[in-house]
């Protein structure tokens, strides 16, 4: 959008969330911050799609949520990757690598 930020490609938000949660439990806010920091402010997440995505992933059993304490003792909801989520992450990652590899190959040749 503004300041050279890029919208997320459709379908990549799940992959990103799963990948970030592999490092350990995190709440919604943490996830938005990490996406911005790690992507060096290139990717920005629309909160309007992050929370539905979290709930969807939870409904599918890939992540679970529990209430915990964040810094300065505030209650926050933390999401944690499940075993099924780990498998899903591997599968989505493979699919993404195939896709991006193919895209790259096309961009180079033509």
């Amino acid at each position: 959008m503004t300041r050279g930020k890029t919208d997320l490609l459709a379908g990549t938000l799940d992959l990103i969330v799963l990948r970030l949660l592999r490092a350990g439990p995190a709440n919604g806010w943490d996830i938005t911050q990490r996406i911005q920091v790690i992507s060096k402010e290139v990717l920005s997440v629309n909160y309007g799609s992050l929370y539905p995505a979290l709930h969807r992933l939870e409904a599918r059993g890939w992540i679970v949520s529990e209430w915990g304490e964040s810094e300065n003792n505030r209650r926050a909801k933390f999401y944690r990757l499940t075993a099924a989520g780990r498998k899903q992450l591997a599968a989505e990652r493979k699919a993404w690598e195939r896709f991006s590899g193919a895209l790259e190959a096309i961009l180079r040749t033509t």
Binding site: W29, G48, A59, G61, K77
Partner: protein
């Protein structure tokens, strides 16, 4: 999987908690965002507004989160059901008519199906019934024919058998037995069976034992096995009855066993309550006298086809060995569960399809009612669609409403079925009431019937709900609002015309069918039976047959006495007796040779049905003799034999 279900269930049943969670989660995010903005130099108020702006719409996010949990469908369904209930209660008259119509339609189907279920779908009540076969004589040139077997042929089958673990035989006719001596005399339907009978069927007596092979011989044959029902009703379920002696047809028989309560045995006539061992009478020992039904249990690895082939070989062998009685005959087997269901099957499925048509008519009727209440609903849905309801959503709501009606109709239908099936049980003709080895003592509404009702209820709901659903949801909002305000129903009229056409067509089919049945019934009633049934009373009586086997016949004297005594009752004009009543009373048949013509041999003799009658029979029945005289008291066994033949026979010969 389990996890997903839990998430959804908790979303459904702990709705408030889940909502609070969502609130708190989003609030936390907003606060963090606000803090960050404050740290970036905004005022508290500015920071908060910016955070909210970043969120887009909090409510929208919540809605999306709810949807992501996959419970929206169920929540909406709940809304639709509540709304549908309110709509129905607002129009009690309409709802009542619709529910009653559907109840009758669904009830009719449930009733017929419950009969089919009780009669045709229940397994034969013997252990491993799929290994039990009936063994028949058959005609080589008509392999589908099924003839009962003569005792000598059966005994030869048994001797040559290598495919059955055991074989048994029972009298196809059965017989009434008089129980006397202890309390009121009672007539009980019983049957002669071979000693192996209960073993082949796999039935263990609940008390005592079954027959021993030596009890098939005359002199040792005076033993009897009683049915559970008879044991209870006549002997008060006396456990000490086994071993005692009871009077059967005036002779002392020892009770050796009582069948288990679930054992029910009936074949071509009603259920049997008494079993005695067979001993083959002189008549039975005639190879040409076919009167038994054979049943056998297949060896573990023998298929029905193998058994059929083997019995064919055995049957053809016997035909060569005894050409006089067995020429053109063979033998075959048939699984016990597959025999003798044709009439019941075709009749009941015809009835079911008629009931199906009635239900279709009911559906069209209710659909018509629903669309007729149109203008009001149309405006309602126009408003809904103007407010952003999708067409699919509108159809779903309307189908929910019609399903509610259908479910009410289904429940009503079950009530109707409970009532009509007990009614039907009383009026069902005998040939529909019983199939071999099973009889219809009660029509049960079991889970299979309920499942059937459930399925047709669902189909019904969709069927009659579809027309109004498509109609009301179709309209362009604007157009409908205008049309609605003018109170016209435009396209609805066309749909309703179509419904009426369908309804009339369906009704016509059912009416035509019913009309044809009534017509053939009328024709039957109008056939001149050749007798005058007015003021003629009949009653049935059976005599003990002991004397038929080993004593001088007592029947003629008995019949004469009876005739005299009945004839002397005031008001009785004439009285007589006959072995088989005309029309439906069954008959005996035999071959004959006409004097002065060559005898073509026993297999080629012409045959005819005959009844044995007493004097005055023709006068009593109002049958006019075309020529000749009636039988008189002088036509006794010692007088020259006389017969009376009918016109058809005199024409033919």
């Amino acid at each position: 999987m389990w996890h997903r279900i839990r998430v959804r269930l908790s979303a459904l049943f702990r709705k408030r908690e889940v909502e609070q969670d969502l609130d708190e989660e989003l609030r936390y995010h907003l606060e963090k965002e606000t803090e960050r903005n404050v740290a970036g130099g905004m005022s508290r108020e500015q920071a908060r507004r910016a955070a909210l702006r970043g969120f887009g719409g909090v409510e929208q996010i919540k809605e999306e989160c709810r949807e992501a949990r996959g419970t929206r469908f169920i929540e909406e369904l709940g809304q639709d059901v509540r709304y549908g209930l309110r709509t129905s209660l607002r129009q009690p008259g309409f709802t009542l008519i619709a529910v009653v119509t559907l109840s009758l339609g669904i009830g009719a189907n449930t009733t017929i199906f419950s009969v089919i279920n009780s009669l045709l779908l229940k397994p034969i009540p013997f252990p491993d019934a799929d290994r039990l076969v009936l063994v028949w004589e058959t005609q080589v040139n008509d392999p589908q024919s099924r003839n009962i077997v003569s005792a000598p042929n059966f005994l030869d089958w048994q001797r040559q058998n290598d495919i059955f673990t055991s074989m048994a035989v029972f009298d196809s006719a059965g017989k009434g037995y008089n129980l006397s001596g202890d309390g009121e005399p009672q007539r009980v339907s019983g049957v002669r069976v071979s000693a192996s009978f209960f073993d082949v069927l796999g039935v263990e007596p609940r008390l005592g034992r079954s027959f021993l092979p030596e009890e098939e011989t005359f002199g040792k044959h005076r033993v009897v096995v009683l049915g559970d029902g008879l044991w209870r009703s006549r002997y008060n379920a006396d456990p000490a009855l086994v071993g005692k002696t009871i009077k059967v047809d005036g002779e002392d028989f020892t009770v050796i066993g009582v069948t288990p309560p679930e054992f029910e045995f009936q074949f071509w006539s009603g259920p049997r309550q008494l079993w005695v061992p067979i001993f083959y009478t002189k008549g039975d020992q005639d190879r040409g006298s076919h009167s038994f039904i054979a049943v056998a249990r297949l060896k573990p690895n023998v298929t029905t086809e193998q058994a059929r082939a083997r019995m064919n070989t055995i049957g053809l062998g016997l035909a060569q060995e005894y050409p006089k009685d067995n020429v053109g005959r063979s033998a075959t087997v048939e699984l016990i569960g597959e025999f003798g269901l044709e009439t019941q099957r075709s009749t009941l499925f015809t009835l079911l399809s008629v009931a199906g048509f009635v239900l279709l008519i009911a559906c069209v009727n209710v659909a018509n009612l629903l669309t007729a209440s149109g203008a009001m609903r149309q405006r309602e849905f126009a408003i809904r669609s103007a407010l952003g309801a999708s067409r699919a959503r509108a159809i779903r709501q309307l189908l929910t409403e019609s399903s509610l009606l259908a479910v009410a109709g289904g429940l009503g239908g079950i009530l109707v079925a409970i009532w009509t099936s007990s009614l039907l049980l009383k009026v069902l003709p005998d040939n529909l009431r019983a199939v071999p080895f099973r009889s219809l003592n009660e029509i049960t509404i079991d889970f299979k019937v309920l499942a059937f009702t459930w399925v047709i209820t669902c189909l019904t709901g969709v069927l009659f709900g579809l027309a109004p659903a498509l109609l009301f949801s179709r309209r362009n909002a604007n157009e409908s609002l205008q049309e609605g305000s003018r109170g016209t129903t435009g396209g609805g009229a066309k749909l309703r015309q179509a419904l009426v056409v369908i309804e009339v067509a369906l009704a016509l089919i059912v009416l035509t069918g019913a009309g044809l049945m009534v017509q053939s019934m009328m024709r039957l009633l109008n056939v001149a039976p050749g007798l005058d049934p007015k003021n003629v009373l009949t009653m049935n009586i059976s005599l003990p047959q002991e004397n038929l086997y080993y004593g001088p016949p007592a029947h003629p004297q008995f019949a004469r006495n009876l005739q005299e005594q009945v004839g002397s009752i005031p008001g009785v004009v004439s009285a007589s007796a006959v072995s088989h009543l005309p029309i439906g009373g069954g008959q005996a048949g035999r071959g004959f040779v006409i004097e002065g013509r060559p005898d073509p041999g026993s297999d080629n003799q012409p045959g005819g049905g005959y009844s044995v009658v007493c004097p005055n029979y023709f006068r009593t029945m109002g049958i006019k003799l075309v020529s000749g005289r009636e039988f008189t008291e002088q036509d006794t066994a010692n007088a020259p034999g006389v017969i009376i033949i009918n016109e058809a026979m005199s024409r033919q010969y």
